[in-house]
């Protein structure tokens, strides 16, 4: 199987970006163990193909809203890795001045609107971004990432109804990793066919192998073209898997180790790099060179975060309200 023509130009970028997320998060997990990063830390390891494939299909000016498992989305949207790491460290140099931490990465410059730690909370927000764009006659679209667990929330149903009713330029990206924290999909939702749920609102849908970055990219490209052509919102289900615990406090009593190991054999990075090698687009020295480059970026980000500063205490109340010039 060879890569589709339109994926060939970015073939190595897709690999590099998945590796950037993977190494950033592996190191973040270690730093959590050292007590350098605190609070909740939700790792995306295993699911990298979804964020990478979708974000490469979007334009730089499109808006993105994500969940609390969003380091990868922020990074590939263009938030500098050092600003993400500094945020996890709670430093002033972080992308949210250190106030949000791992779950609340924000970046106005790249139109990355969080970092939302309320399950399904980003969905109505994205509807509004898409509505504003449409009312102002713009052509940018708004994409929202959410887990399959969010599809049990009323916010999902209200949002997809609004997006379909008003035919808004919105991309629904469901990251179906089979577990809402520790509750399996078939233990929490009566209809486990997620595309059927979305279709009930007259939204076009597609279910995609979320472990295959090319499949993700191709599906997202098609969906984006559909939306930009004015055909209304699109729902993509990405079947994927979280290799690590839900958060750093999760003993994973709800799933078998065998199941995890089985999914790991479909890991998005090694299957894709094997494919690239088979097609002659990559060799082992080339792979190692990318890895070295990525590791250097991660270590630079850690050094940056380590040397970052703490927000002065007198700024605690800053930005509860927007400062206004005296009349």
């Amino acid at each position: 199987m060879s890569l589709p023509p339109r994926s060939q130009d970015i073939a190595l970028d897709l690999l590099r970006d998945m590796m950037r997320i993977r190494r950033l998060e592996e190191r973040a997990g270690e730093l959590y163990g050292e007590g350098k990063i605190r609070g909740f830390l939700h790792l995306y390891i295993g699911e990298e193909a979804v964020a990478v494939g979708v974000l490469h299909a979007l334009a730089a000016h499109d808006a993105v809203v994500a969940t609390y498992r969003e380091h990868g989305h922020a990074l590939i949207k263009g938030v500098p890795m050092k600003a993400i790491m500094a945020e996890m460290y709670g430093r002033l140099e972080g992308c949210s001045r250190g106030r949000g931490g791992s779950m609340h990465l924000f970046d106005a410059t790249t139109r990355f609107f969080g970092g939302n730690a309320i399950v399904a909370g980003g969905l109505p927000l994205t509807v509004g971004l898409a509505l504003a764009e449409r009312m102002q006659g713009g052509s940018r679209l708004s994409a929202c990432f959410f887990g399959e667990g969010a599809m049990a929330e009323g916010a999902f149903h209200e949002s997809i109804n609004l997006a379909a009713l008003w035919q808004l330029p919105m991309l629904f990206c469901c990251e179906n990793n089979l577990y809402a924290m520790g509750t399996a999909l078939d233990r929490s939702q009566s209809q486990t066919d997620l595309c059927a749920k979305a279709s009930a609102y007259k939204v076009d849908t597609r279910s995609v192998d979320g472990m295959d970055v090319i499949a993700v990219y191709e599906a997202a490209r098609d969906a984006v073209e559909h939306i930009r052509a004015g055909h209304g919102p699109f729902f993509l289900e990405f079947r994927t898997y979280r290799f690590r615990a839900h958060s750093m406090f999760d003993p994973q009593l709800y799933r078998d180790k065998d199941e995890v190991e089985q999914w790991k054999t479909h890991g998005p990075i090694h299957t894709y790099s094997a494919q690239l090698k088979a097609e002659g687009l990559l060799d082992e020295p080339g792979f190692l060179a990318i890895l070295a480059q990525v590791d250097a970026e991660v270590e630079t980000a850690i050094t940056y975060a380590e040397s970052g500063s703490l927000e002065p205490l007198e700024d605690l109340s800053r930005d509860v309200y927007t400062p206004r010039a005296a009349p």
């Binding site: 109505p124 509505l131 009312m135």
Partner: protein, 328 residues
């Protein structure tokens, strides 16, 4: 030039002017368009501005309030109407977890210039799911601004400064006020930062807002006939509270009575009295007092509803107690 109009008309004219002044302004909510608004506030606006800007929303408070936040972030200036404060609880998540928190949580990157209007309060025999006064709850939340127009002037004048405000502003319209009629006053110069003295006096400060301003002024009239000269303060802005106006009055009269249609425990009235004690304890001649709603879900039958709410007679009795040490 002053024009006579109802509170409802004043709100409608304020929206009409805002829609004409700024193309980013639009109204969104349940039945705001074809129906004309559940309290007929937006009647006629659909014909004037069309369905894009007078946008009927499905029964999805969480969805369309969240969408209002997103639209504000996306460069629009939405006015979101919620039928009544009890229904706003379905949208408490986006209001509290997103609108109020976003600017601080994002390190100052994202302000939310959203205006939400809703009806509040009792007095129409609508029972326990349409009659509460929960604006005090919202006034608890940092990041929000809370307005309670009690006059025609404020109903007309508060919307535009609220739309100019870069942060989320919630406007609470007491359902009993919609038919109130008066001069529109100097609505073009209304601020959304200060409390106002609605009646000057020297013996006792009555502090209230919104739907109980009328009852409080009436009580002040009764008390004046008995030789008790009351100053009446209309808070207007429930967050942030205007301590300065409040304390200037209390330090003058040395007595304070708060009238609030909200419940008593853990309430706005508790906050106001705490501030008075914190800032003026040694100026006081008597312990501050309050008249609030009975701590029950508001019941349907008229006699019980009336008994549950602050009334002129209960305000007068509390004033007697405070000034004379007697309720008689």
């Amino acid at each position: 030039m002053s024009i006579r109009m109802t509170y409802r008309e004043a709100l409608r004219e304020a929206m009409r002017e805002a829609l004409q002044r700024d193309p980013r302004v639009f109204l969104m909510g349940e039945d705001v368009g074809r129906y004309g608004g559940s309290y007929a506030v937006s009647l006629g606006l659909l014909e004037a501005f069309g369905p894009e800007r007078i946008r009927d929303a499905p029964l999805s408070e969480l969805g369309f309030v969240g969408a209002g936040i997103g639209a504000a972030l996306g460069g629009m200036r939405p006015i979101v109407e919620i039928m009544t404060v009890n229904f706003s609880l379905l949208a408490l998540d986006p209001l509290m977890n997103t609108a109020a928190a976003l600017r601080h949580m994002s390190g100052g990157q994202f302000s939310v210039p959203l205006v939400v209007r809703m009806a509040t309060g009792a007095g129409r025999q609508l029972a326990a799911q349409h009659s509460h006064s929960l604006e005090g709850w919202y006034a608890h939340i940092p990041g929000l601004k809370i307005l309670a127009p009690a006059t025609i002037e404020d109903a007309r004048g508060m919307l535009w400064p609220a739309l100019l405000d870069p942060d989320p502003v919630l406007i609470f319209e007491h359902a009993q006020l919609y038919n109130l009629e008066d001069d529109a006053g100097e609505w073009e110069t209304v601020d959304i930062s200060s409390a106002k003295v609605r009646r000057a006096g020297k013996d006792l400060t009555l502090i209230t807002y919104g739907g109980t301003l009328g009852k409080t002024l009436e009580a002040a009239q009764v008390l004046a006939g008995e030789g008790i000269d009351c100053e009446v303060i209309d808070l207007r802005v429930l967050r942030p509270l205007d301590d300065k106006t409040l304390m200037a009055s209390v330090c003058k009269t040395r007595r304070a009575l708060v009238v609030d249609e909200g419940w008593r425990s853990g309430s706005l009235s508790a906050e106001i009295i705490t501030r008075i004690i914190e800032q003026g304890f040694f100026e006081l001649d008597a312990p501050p007092a309050r008249v609030c709603s009975a701590e029950v879900p508001i019941p349907y039958p008229r006699h019980l509803e009336e008994a549950a709410l602050p009334q002129v007679s209960t305000i007068v009795a509390a004033a007697h107690e405070l000034c004379l040490g007697t309720s008689g």
